[in-house]
């Protein structure tokens, strides 16, 4: 409950800051925000696009949040997405199976690809205490160049920079859904995302595994003292986190898009960090945070087309809203301060707060 309030305050602060910027550049914030939300939600097709935009963000947000809970900062969601997407695309382009089985295999490939990419930093962290921030970032670039090499070499489409288009059988897009949303690119990825939210919420809150992971996150040494296998839990947490990001890649490359492009690190990987922060690292929170981001990203273009501002500024407005939204940690602090004004200000922000400091 308190987390929700904190998040809501950060969103409002973000909107105010964005509105101030609009004033700076001579546009009316009311008008701007009206168009922003119209652009995202005006008709059924735009709503579909918004949900589809949010889908990969739900996955990456979950991935980052899950690792956060174990005290790990997974910045490598982008690379894990790439490899997950690459694995799924490879399956889609090479295997000739019936649709349900093909999609199942693609999803599994995405999970394996993503978790493999997160396994290495997890192992390095557990065995040699290599900081995961560094190693996951490095893995991002390895993934970037792996895709850069593999796609043109093995799955080259009509142009050098893109893979072949996957067939309709392999696409996560469903004709029924597309029709329902009047030509939107929404796809079954959103169902997978909702499912993932439920499963992860269950793991974190209701299982021994989740309890152990959280314990490691709160205090590694205490967890070790209590007889938990810290190293195993670190690796496991990274594996699950990577699998989620990999699924995000599947949703992005075989759902929202239908080919892989080289030379691009998906921005959703980094946005996942902001989504996780805003969602206070809870699966449900992540879901709503991702949908909000989806609205912002979908609405920008329309806002931009309707009011007289250059696109760079429109993007800046969105960035500012996100920036403020991601400062929920700060607001949590202020919140705490007000509550214990007279007692000493020992902070109890939990693992997130600690992470924010380091």
């Amino acid at each position: 409950m308190r987390n929700t309030i904190v998040s809501l305050i950060s969103i409002i602060l973000g909107l105010i800051a964005g509105g101030l910027l609009m004033l700076f550049i001579g546009a009316s914030p009311v008008e701007g925000y009206t168009y922003l939300f119209q652009g995202a939600l005006k008709n059924i097709s735009r709503i579909g696009d918004t949900l589809a935009t949010a889908t990969p963000l739900i996955f990456t947000g979950l991935a980052v949040a899950f690792a956060f809970r174990t005290g790990l900062f997974n910045i490598g969601a982008a690379g894990q997405m790439l490899i997950g997407g690459l694995a799924a695309t490879a399956v889609a382009l090479t295997m000739d199976l019936s649709r349900p089985i093909l999609i199942l295999v693609m999803v599994l490939a995405g999970i394996i690809g993503g978790s493999l990419w997160a396994f290495i930093p997890g192992l390095l962290k557990a065995r040699f205490n290599v900081h995961e921030v560094v190693s996951t970032i490095m893995m991002n670039w390895i993934a970037y160049w792996v895709v850069y090499y593999i796609v043109p070499a093995n799955f080259k489409g009509g142009t050098e920079t893109e893979s072949k288009l996957i067939s309709e059988t392999a696409s996560l897009k469903m004709p029924l859904l597309t029709e329902m949303f009047q030509g939107s690119y929404i796809n079954m990825g959103i169902f997978f995302a909702v499912l993932a939210v439920i499963v992860i919420a269950f793991i974190i809150n209701k299982t021994t595994l989740g309890y152990e992971l959280k314990a490691v996150g709160f205090n590694r040494h205490a967890a070790e003292y209590a007889g938990m296998r810290v190293n195993r839990n670190i690796i496991l947490s990274m594996l699950i986190s990577g699998a989620l990001a990999g699924l995000g890649g599947v949703a992005l490359y075989t759902g929202n898009a239908s080919s892989m492009q080289i030379g691009i690190l998906p921005s959703q990987g980094y946005d996942g960090i902001a989504v996780a922060l805003l969602g206070a690292n809870s699966p449900i929170g992540v879901f709503f945070a991702a949908v909000l981001f989806g609205i912002l990203y979908s609405g920008t273009g329309f806002m931009n087309a309707m009011i007289e501002i250059p696109p760079e500024l429109a993007n800046t407005i969105i960035a500012i809203i996100i920036y403020f939204a991601a400062t929920s940690v700060l607001i949590q602090r202020v919140f705490n301060k007000f509550r214990n004004t007279k007692t000493n200000s020992n902070d109890v922000a939990g693992p997130v707060g600690k992470k924010g400091e380091s």
């Binding site: 550049i25 690119y185 492009q261 920008t300 931009n304 087309a305 007289e308």
Partner: protein, 365 residues
């Protein structure tokens, strides 16, 4: 203490907000100078920014020319990514906002335009460097769309001739962005141009395989600077860049060296990059630029649309014959002799005496 700082910061922000907000509000109306019934021309940008010294910029400058000459209302949107869905989304945004003439620069728009031309039947589309298709590369240009190509190889050829004639002897290099058709054709044309000059004008400029490099992106200007540095260290005198932002890095490296007294050059691409290569006042490292006249062509398409002569359904190629490519009018770094020789080569391309191949053949990369 902390609280006081925070309070100060907040009040500053608020004060600034009210002040600037107030002056911002004033000029709001002047922004829409072209009135409500001006024709609305929209553009969706490709990967990269609007001032990329290349595709986006060239196209956008054409639209701005049209604004000056024809009083249209202009707007560009920058998609969040480069997938078909994101391109389509921005086209839809333009369309919904009343921009029913949409220019898209780059082959990446091919499948998006293919879908858009059916979805928005009362809108017009111009795609530069590409042909709309459904993903199978069978071009389908509907009546509300024009596909435009450029003969980059001829532009590269002219730059090659200019380089060889101006330098007489030396070593040339090439930096490309991605290994995709447009930079490739520039490269192959450039090599053919140098060869032609060596054979016909008695010059002796060489180009080695190791000095023909595709960096792999159009954005990594740091890498462009490094590659250029390596080439210059290997004794290269002039580098032709067809690489967007990577080329900008190479130009900066060249400027640093030129300031230190080195005699090195860059050949620019797409637009006249002379201004970007300026150092020490009025000197520039840009020998010349192999241009694709994106601005002229874009303006031309808008003009034709306003005259009611939009060439819908056609695929047009702009080359030397219709002045769609070429070197800049003014080349302060080229001698009169070079300009004359380039003119000679240009006339021969126009008359068909010189045929510039758009394929690799025996050329490097």
């Amino acid at each position: 203490m902390k609280k006081r700082k925070f309070g100060l910061a907040m009040s500053l922000i608020l004060a600034a907000g009210t002040l600037l907000g107030a002056c911002g509000g004033g000029d709001k109306d002047t922004g829409k100078d072209n009135g409500k019934d001006a024709v609305k021309i929209g553009m969706v940008t490709d990967a990269g920014t609007i001032d990329d010294k290349s595709f986006n910029q060239g196209t956008w400058e054409g639209i701005l020319l049209a604004k000056e000459e024809l009083g249209i209302q202009e707007k560009y949107l920058k998609p969040a990514g480069t997938t078909e869905a994101e391109y389509l989304k921005e086209m839809g945004n333009l369309y919904d906002a009343g921009y029913k003439f949409i220019v898209t620069p780059g082959f990446k728009f091919e499948t998006a335009v293919f879908k858009a031309q059916d979805k928005y039947k009362d809108a017009k589309f111009v795609i530069l460097d590409g042909n709309p298709h459904s993903g199978d590369f069978k071009p389908v240009v509907k009546d509300n769309t024009v596909a435009i190509f450029f003969a980059e190889q001829e532009s590269g050829f002219l730059a090659g001739v200019a380089t060889a004639v101006e330098l007489k002897e030396g070593e040339a290099g090439f930096i490309g962005g991605m290994e995709i058709p447009a930079p490739q054709k520039f490269n192959w044309g450039f090599q053919q141009g140098i060869k032609y000059a060596n054979e016909n004008f008695g010059t002796n400029v060489t180009i080695k395989a190791e000095n023909v490099i595709y960096q792999g992106t159009f954005s990594d200007s740091a890498a462009g600077g490094q590659i250029a540095a390596q080439m210059y260290d290997r004794g290269v005198d002039v580098i032709f860049t067809a690489a967007g932002g990577v080329g900008v890095g190479a130009i900066n490296e060249a400027k640093t060296r030129a300031k230190a007294g080195d005699k090195i050059w860059i050949v620019g691409v797409d637009v006249d990059q002379y201004e970007d290569g300026k150092y020490d006042g009025d000197k520039s490292v840009i020998l010349t630029s192999a241009m694709k006249k994106l601005d002229v062509v874009t303006l031309d398409m808008i003009k034709r649309e306003l005259d009611g002569k939009f060439p819908g359904g056609e695929t047009l190629t702009f080359d030397a014959k219709n002045d769609g490519i070429g070197l800049p009018e003014e080349n302060p770094n080229l001698s009169d002799e070079t300009t004359a020789k380039v003119k000679e080569a240009l006339d021969k391309i126009k008359s068909g005496d010189i045929k510039v191949a758009a394929e690799q053949g025996s050329l490097f990369k």
